[in-house]
Symmetry: D3
Subunit: 241 residues, 6 copies
């Protein structure tokens, strides 16, 4: 159910204490030659939609701007600060709480947003008693990706426009992928990249962290379906705080 | 052109000093029984798209949350603060500036956003020299609406889910209008509503400020086309500050 | 009654739940060759005094600095930010509330302050339950001015150092007007001035938006008396929120 | 010279790099039964005026609200936070700097404002190179008061509505003093009042810290003239940073 | 070299562009029955000291308060916000930069501080050009711990007062460990603990995440020496940004 | 009792409503050729320890960074803003309150911190009802110092690295004093130093405000013991707010 297509008269009784509001959060960010700038928005939206279908949740309009500090100098990237993200998400969460929601799930398509989403969730934990707030980023994907990937991961936690993320897109939004432009570009990430601010232009020109040519719909399906299943499980098994 | 469907490689040379970036800004807010909560998002997006087509601009992903203080207690409304709005818009504007844009136009579908957009534009005026920043809200609509409306306006500046706004929707997003539910509900707005904080539940239960049953696609078209024409004119005649 | 000339011992019992506190808010801003920089302070103070006399209210000391972004580069203008204005007014309002006031009326002499005063009023709406907060800017003046003005208005909402404002001064503070220096200087305001940040030096050197030579005490009296009457009406008819 | 009574045309050339802008800063605060709430405003204004006359400075409109945390629960007190004070004073100082002033002197009538004024001055020290910023609070008064007072001081640094401050008023604003109501009320200030937050209602009901009946115009004149002389000396001997 | 034991006269020439300033950052937080509240401070300090000895760096006084949101309700925990941490670290970093340092390394003993340290480092990345800022948290420990641990990790990234951290203490600060009180308490961490705010009292009473009885000095030495070696390597191989 | 060496299990019952938490607050700041940069940290810590021994209080880890604006350009000084200090101290105080403390005493070794500590104490006064918050800076030292000093004070309130502070160090931390480097350097402090921002490099190169060669352990002991006695007295005589 798309929340914004509801009308005010009917939505009132549809919002009960067991209602779930899902907010897709993405970003506008460089994703190499074969994927669009809005990749993270498309993924967040479509994952959110599938989760919502399974748990009968409302999907809110996507928050389409994220914290892309690392790639902010790449063509097309639009960066918003952690402070801005936290502030607007807290506002949204508090409105949902006043509207009667007791479960608010952010479905995030961009890793760089996680710290802000976590901080926002903690603020809401205090200001909205008894509202459960989730900040999902493909839960379970690390293990699942390990099972299907054919190349080593370029980095312990980052993945970007690579075999994995391109596979997600082939599964969820193939009309926006141009595999003919997909490249293999495995960067040499500096060993201190995790412990000192490191804009990605230092180690990649393409913003592709791996071999996008190996992406397949099946790999995407395998991982995404596990992530969706995990989200559904946590949303339906949740208990009061 | 949808900005987020571009890819990073090609967008680089498409962004020149004459490029225009258009940001639709809307809201999720009660709009009576016949219009969806996302009315202002739909209108902002579709107006933005038409303007973009005429001036060959990029349309950015819609910022779909607005300041809806007055209607925040109505079912379905999601309110964000002026501070949050200003903060995220300034971030977006500064990113666009660094990306090379010198014209940034907000196409706003929700009157309550205007003070925040104006403040954000003033911040950008200082931080982004030579970038022209617009905050459009149906320019010229007051005069045009006067010409076509069959009922008096309920208020000098507000219009909401009424003959006028419903007409906009019939023109731009008719698939989201249910005219069978349209009502006439002309409120008695307190005479001090402009000079003291006045949540709308004080004077309306429906959030419809007028007679929505009189809405027609033609009225919407008349006003919207004038507004679009005015925006196109200002975007193409603009000069450096 | 001037609040600051009361003493602490006697003021205590004079403050009851029906007491009204009036805060004049003005600005220091260029007003052409014939009006002083403090024009908006003088007007706010004297209007406040007259209103207070009719409703037996306390007049607080004038807050004499306002948001004059548009004219901040003109000689003599002193600009303070919306943030500063909001912050100090919220402090004042919360103090008045703790002192026992349940009606707090800002009488504003400078249009540019209105957004900040409105925002401050909304903050107080939440933090001070049952306190009615007004932010008056010559209520009813638009209609009244239309009736007496001999020249067209230069702009739909701005008026400045012109036929109208000079008439206010001739009525309320004639000793500060030098009509021998009054000029006619009708600017060509850019058509996009309402939708993009536009410092007034772009379209006027004098800061006079019209024909000040046509100002008369009588015109001022006509409009101001209507505005005062409207304020008195709203202050005395007000009911609890 | 009252700055706000100047007009924009003439003030331009009156502002040179040797011009001095003086801002009186006061407060609205309980001052016992014999002095008005606005005592600190009256003193700041009239001292500022005398200093201005001697150094040919501009006097700005008084900032009439101060930080009165200690007395905020007394009838009539209006408290504003350090943050609000600092913010508006920094705005004012930066405007004066852009207008061409290179000396900005705050003449403060309320001790509780000093920390905020000092902090604001430090901000301006960085943002306005070569502008000298003073925050005066009766410089030299401690020594001078010791010479004329007939009773011991109730506290090392506080004095309030007592022999000393009442004498200031008898010299500078006698029309606002009602000596027939003056009282002697020497409080027992807790020994930890300087090292733990201590609202004054803990140790005084009157807010008079001493024997106001001993106040005389002559005592006030003696101290104030020394303070004025010290300010004049510092304003005229000042050199570039 | 302890920075604070230097004197101002001699330190001046000791600070060159190749000087390194190391800031230990810890926390006061519950660490079970056998470890002190200041465990993270002790570890940060002693690791910092060893690194400093190897690279001839200055060790700054420890910042002994951290963000311990998850354990804030446990006896003895003192929690400071991310905002406070970021603010004071940015101040410290900017001071070091003005003093001439071009390498600033935070040696952190508390995982919960990492997001704040990373954000602070990014702020400094912009405000202090050419200063390299590190935020170290036992680099390389994950792999090394895997090699020596005898029990499974209770969580992918958390470790606390367990086999591992107790081993660190046995190596670096054995005089503060009371192994006679060490316990085994392997918690059942909820599967959604990484995606929803989860104070640790939800799943543990002891705050021990594992089997502390298996801790040995040798395990601590093995991991810590690797971490120190990694830090030394990155500090000495670093190049200008 | 060092708070951070307690463990979580035992500390729980040690914290009662009569428990006292003492926070030493110092600074890293130039102190001439004979005293270390961390002089204020050493003094704060050791005074705190002695006070704690007498009143059976917990000593928290030292907050070792202070506001040293005046000396921030001297070699070795590390300056943090009032905002940062206030923010972290409020966090610490609120944590202590939640842990059960009802007395929180800051023992400050650096005069420049006093305004921030006072402001933090006022915030806590409101947010932590019934918690008594002290901000001590050698209470009673002014009188005591007058009795023992052999040279005049260079300034009414400042003392720094001089006869007095060096005596404190000789008493409390003699191992960090190098009297062979002690100098006499009596500055000519500008007469406006108290009323305009005045970095100390304007009037001293050494940062020594007086004759450090006259310092003795006995002078330090005399003053410090009085200050400690005063703190003990206030901590033990305190009553509920």
């Amino acid at each position: 159910m798309e929340f914004q297509y509801e009308n005010s008269y009917e939505v009132k009784e549809k919002i009960t204490s067991s209602s779930i509001a899902i907010l897709p959060v993405g970003a506008v960010e460089a994703h190499g030659p074969h994927l669009p700038l809005g990749t993270d928005n498309l993924l967040a939206e479509r994952v959110a939609q599938r989760v919502a279908d399974k748990v009968e949740a409302f999907v809110l309009p996507t928050l389409p701007y994220g914290q892309v500090w690392s790639l902010r100098h790449f063509p097309g990237s639009i960066n918003v600060s952690n402070e801005s993200l936290i502030s607007i998400i807290v506002d949204i969460g508090e409105s949902l709480y006043r509207q009667g929601f007791r479960t608010f799930a952010m479905v995030n398509g961009h890793l760089g947003n996680q710290p802000a989403l976590k901080d926002a969730a903690r603020v809401l934990f205090t200001s909205c008693p008894n509202m459960k707030v989730f900040y999902f980023f493909y839960p379970g994907m690390n293990q699942a990706a390990k099972e299907v990937r054919e190349t080593d991961s370029a980095h312990a936690t980052y993945f970007h426009a690579c075999e994995i993320e391109t596979s997600y897109m082939l599964y969820l939004a193939p009309e926006f992928v141009d595999m003919s432009k997909a490249i293999k570009d495995i960067p040499q990430i500096p060993e201190d990249a995790d412990v000192t601010p490191t804009p990605w232009e230092v180690f990649t020109e393409s913003a592709v962290l791996g071999d996008a040519t190996l992406a397949t719909m099946e790999k995407g399906q395998y991982i995404i379906d596990i992530a969706i299943s995990n989200m559904v499980h946590m949303l339906t098994n949740k208990e009061a705080k």
